[in-house]
């Protein structure tokens, strides 16, 4: 076992371990700050007209003027703002409705188990599945045709790609909801906090509050602070995401982020200046959104402050409950139908429009796709494994270092960890690619791993930090009093005890890496194809069937990761610690 050897070696040189641990927070900060900030700076220069290769060596605001004069620029910004705000609000409202409705019911657990897998479905795959559902010839219209709708040819309706962005909102909401819900459930699973909140809820019930009102008055105010950062991350992501608007959104005009990506890739190279200016505007837009959310939060708090203590026991609870049931049902129907559609397409022979099922089933699409996806599949897995291993090591060492100084990371550092999630990636990735080219032009693989690390690290940290910080310190104290070195405590006590959370964090890291589109595309310079980049380019391609296969593979990969993590978490302890029984 290489790890055992290594850990023995580490334990042997305690000073080596100490140096490693103490330096890792710095390394981690550097790995996050340098690419993001460097990328931002190298985007700001061309935004203000500094682009030597085209002979622009004087600072000017021409890029911004150009941007301002783009037809539909206001609409692009509006579309970005409206889709992100509406989808985030919807996801948040449905999350708290579900939590409130099923807070004491076993259904909460079932919903959690059903939605868990949705969380790890990459955005691109989810968008493809939803597109298959709502397109005029999609599952939705096939199910009601021709017996109900009378359609014998696909209706000429505007979904997906509708100008209002409703398709984008549907896609983003369905992707954000599981994330927020699982985050909230994660908070409630913390023993001290969760038990206190549930006890308080019970007290409220015994005082005659209706369950939902009790949730909103007692639990939500304490729960919300823990949801703030995930919410802001979701909002920031939605405002600048590329995959879902690219696959489901309108193109006349598209959202700002998609337009920026197209300008960066345009034949007309002078558009790069406009694109850079657009990237700056995108950052400002996202910051503005985050600020507005925070202000909105304050406003809501101020308005509802009196309601919390006014003693009213019920606010149309029964109706709210029913609405929640309906929403939950619709949500699962949409997810179920979308998945069924995508599975059917992946094995469909000829499939004429009103038929709800294909005329016959073939395995041709799977066969030819699996032949073609050989290399992308290997690259996807390798990049995921490298990025996740690096992220796990850095996170564990940083968390260990934090315990030496016996204080949580500085406030600044804990914000820095989420930097790549809060700053629109489209803004700094282009600069980052330019920077990477300066150093190692030909190492596309390493570049992609580093770019993925930016997005994997925050999630791994988020997922591991609470378990690590919560680990009872008395175990370490006892071990230390028996003479164990810090290294030995780390390898022999903390890691084995944290095996399950570490494995889950690994699976999460892999899932995040598998789903990355823009970082792979840009850092890899098109040389590295993963399942995700292939799926996105095929989503706009000629074959629904091939596209369905890729989207399904994209869903299966992270699911496999979690399955393996789950199996290992059960099996490994039995194998490793058998002698203790």
């Amino acid at each position: 076992m290489a790890t055992t050897l290594w850990s023995n070696a580490m334990m042997a040189s305690a000073s080596g371990f100490n140096t490693l641990v103490r330096s890792s927070p710095l390394v981690m900060m550097a790995l996050l700050v340098i690419p993001v900030m460097g990328g931002l700076i190298t985007v700001i220069l061309p935004a203000f007209g500094w682009f030597p290769v085209l002979g622009h060596t004087q600072f000017s605001v021409d890029g911004f003027i150009d941007l301002w004069q783009t037809p539909g620029i206001g609409y692009m910004a509006l579309l970005s703002v409206s889709t992100s705000v509406i989808s985030t609000s919807l996801a948040f409202v449905i999350t708290i409705l579900i939590l409130g409705s099923y807070f004491t019911s076993p259904w909460l657990g079932y919903i959690q188990r059903l939605l868990g897998p949705i969380l790890v479905i990459p955005h691109a795959a989810a968008a493809i599945a939803i597109g298959f559902l709502i397109t005029p010839s999609g599952m939705l219209s096939r199910v009601v045709s021709p017996w109900l709708s009378g359609w014998v040819t696909p209706p000429d309706w505007l979904y997906p790609h509708d100008a209002m962005g409703l398709s984008i909102i549907l896609g983003l909401t369905l992707k954000e909801l599981p994330f927020l819900l699982l985050m909230a459930l994660g908070v409630l699973a913390q023993p001290d906090l969760g038990q206190t909140l549930r006890a308080q809820h019970r007290v409220a019930l015994s005082l005659g509050y209706c369950p939902m009102t009790a949730f909103f008055k007692v639990v939500l105010p304490s729960l919300y602070p823990f949801l703030r950062l995930p919410l802001l991350a979701v909002l920031a992501y939605a405002s600048a995401s590329v995959e879902i608007p690219l696959i489901l959104g309108p193109n006349s005009p598209p959202t700002l982020a998609v337009a920026i990506m197209q300008w960066f890739h345009d034949v007309d190279l002078s558009l790069r200046i406009k694109a850079s200016a657009g990237a700056i505007v995108q950052i400002l837009l996202t910051l503005l959104l985050l600020l507005s959310w925070w202000l909105l939060e304050r406003l809501v708090k101020k308005i509802t402050q009196n309601m919390l203590i006014n003693g009213q026991r019920e606010y149309a609870d029964a109706m709210m409950q029913n609405i929640t049931h309906v929403i939950t049902l619709i949500m699962f129907a949409v997810i179920g139908l979308a998945l069924m559609g995508i599975i059917l397409w992946s094995v469909a022979g000829f499939w004429h429009f009103p038929d709800a099922l294909p005329q016959h089933f073939v395995s041709l699409h799977w066969q030819s796709a699996l032949q073609q996806m050989h290399t992308p599949l290997i690259d996807t897995v390798l990049i995921g494994v490298y990025a996740t291993s690096l992220a796990i090591m850095l996170t564990l060492f940083t968390l260990e270092a934090e315990q030496y100084t016996s204080k949580n990371l500085l406030r600044l550092s804990s914000v820095i960890i989420y930097l790549p999630l809060l700053i629109p990636s489209i803004a700094f990735l282009f600069g980052l690619v330019w920077l990477l080219e300066q150093f190692n032009s030909h190492q596309s693989f390493i570049n992609v791993v580093l770019a993925h690390l930016l997005f994997v690290l925050p999630y791994v940290f988020l997922s591991l930090s609470s378990s690590y910080r919560r680990l009872d310190p008395r175990f370490s104290m006892v071990a230390a009093s028996l003479g164990a070195s810090k290294a030995k405590i780390f390898w022999k006590i903390k890691l084995p005890m944290l095996l399950a959370p570490i494995l889950i964090a690994c699976a999460l890291g892999l899932a995040i890496s598998f789903s990355q589109y823009l970082p792979t595309l840009l850092a890899g310079g098109g040389r590295i194809n993963t399942i995700t980049t292939e799926a996105v380019s095929l989503a706009n391609g000629g074959s629904r069937r091939t596209s369905a296969v890729y989207a399904l593979v994209q869903m299966i990969l992270p699911a496999l990761g979690f399955l393996v993590a789950w199996a290992l978490a059960r099996l490994l302890p039995k194998m490793l610690f058998r002698y203790r029984e």
Partner: protein, 430 residues
């Protein structure tokens, strides 16, 4: 091993050393004589064998649009062949848009990376080529050194050295020819439109069943250029010919209004009432497969029967060319100025131009891309490779293939003008 040999030599008598020296000397003389002989042949082939010597056993990054599984499989086949012949590992970097490669080379130039570029070869034509040529991002004057370039008979085929009317100056080698081919669902419509004017009428009778990709998509631009040429066909010769010259404001005023007039009339009858256009040309085929469209068009006609075989298109699909004309163009391979593996790339391009590779590419079941080789340059046995196979889906038979006149591509400057003005007019919903 050398160490052992030296040990033996050091122990052997001097006479042995003399014998070894004589043998070495004679080998050297023979070798130089042989080399001198080879050099005497021609400068050019010597230059080529130098390229061969330098080019083998390397990796080549071929940046080419990757949206078509048939073409991707063909490039995979090419990769196997060059691996056998030259031990070259050909990587197909699949682009969604060729402009991605253009931006990459530009980014490298901006980073002063003038020798270790990531793009070794790029599949290109039209305005992408014009952009790269304008910014001097391509290696010039290499095409005529390829032994197989002669097979295209460039002296009698001026099209081989002009890309959308712009002289290629040896910056890119021709790879294939394509013509705009229409295909329709014979269940939805028995009589597809045969001319541009009929298309407008047909759309009124079949509302929502036709569309074209949104500019600047290559296929969408091709449709607009076809329309522009046909709509100006009745104008005086001197005015028509302005299409093949740079698009000045005056010329635009002469030629473009009819196009906008036509589109204003056409759009309300298009798919989604002309309020939304697909960004990608490939999406047309998907919409045909979904049954949303009844008429579409493509530059890779052979892809239509192939898609039927993969169930992506219904069995009732048929192909034809417009009677009033088909936009035709040649696509090329270029080598960026900073390519890392220039010589290997030349070997690959030379292979792409070989009779073997071109004949394979022309087979409808492989790709169906028309060869650029002038068959007269080939021995009869090799000419036979280019004969079409007999059996296939009916959509493989293209109606009007011979009678449809080939329409040349307008000057590349028109592409940008049309795309910009289109986006101003129709790109943003009102």
């Amino acid at each position: 091993m050398p160490l052992d040999k030296l040990m033996i030599l050091s122990r052997t008598p001097k006479s042995m050393l003399h014998i070894v020296a004589v043998i070495a000397l004679s080998i050297f003389i023979c070798a130089s004589l042989w080399a001198g002989n080879a050099y005497a042949k021609t400068n050019e082939s010597a230059a080529w064998s130098d390229i061969e010597a330098r080019g083998i056993n390397q990796a080549v990054y071929f940046h080419a649009w990757g949206g078509d599984p048939q073409i991707n499989s063909y490039i995979q086949w090419v990769a196997e062949q060059v691996d056998q012949q030259y031990q070259i590992t050909l990587h197909h970097v699949k682009l969604t848009d060729t402009s991605e490669a253009v931006s990459r080379v530009l980014a490298e130039k901006s980073a002063a990376n003038d020798h270790n570029g990531q793009v070794d070869m790029v599949w290109i034509n039209g305005d992408n080529f014009a952009a790269m040529a304008k910014h001097q991002l391509l290696t010039p004057n290499w095409v005529s050194t390829l032994p197989n370039f002669g097979l295209t008979d460039p002296d009698n085929n001026p099209a081989m050295t002009r890309d959308f009317g712009v002289p290629t100056q040896g910056m890119e080698a021709p790879w294939g020819k394509a013509s705009l081919t229409f295909y329709y669902d014979s269940l939805a419509s028995q009589a597809p439109p045969q001319t541009l004017q009929q298309l407008s009428l047909w759309s009124q009778q079949h509302p929502g069943r036709f569309t074209y990709p949104k500019p600047p998509d290559f296929l969408g631009m091709s449709f607009l250029k076809y329309a522009l040429i046909m709509l100006n066909n009745s104008q005086a010769e001197a005015i028509k010919n302005l299409l093949y010259q740079p698009a000045t404001a005056h010329r635009q005023a002469l030629l473009l209004p009819v196009l906008w007039q036509y589109l204003d009339q056409l759009h309300p009858h298009l798919w989604r009432k002309g309020k939304h256009f697909m960004s990608s040309g490939m999406a047309l085929r998907r919409l045909m497969g979904d049954g949303e469209l009844a008429l579409a068009f493509t530059f890779s006609a052979a892809d239509v029967p192939a898609a039927v075989a993969r169930f992506d298109l219904p069995n009732s699909i048929r192909s034809y060319r417009m009677r009033d004309g088909s936009l035709s163009n040649i696509h090329f391979i270029a080598i960026p100025y900073n390519a890392t593996h220039t010589d290997s790339a030349k070997l690959v391009v030379n292979f792409l131009l070989s009779a073997q590779a071109q004949a394979k590419k022309q087979q409808a079941s492989i790709w169906g891309d028309t060869s650029v080789i002038a068959l007269s340059q080939l021995p009869a046995a090799q000419q036979a490779w280019f004969q079409p196979p007999t059996q296939s889906h009916p959509s493989a038979q293209i109606a009007n293939q011979e009678s449809s006149p080939a329409l040349g591509e307008p000057d590349p400057s028109w592409t940008k003008v049309i795309a910009t003005q289109w986006l101003q007019r129709y790109g943003v919903m009102r």
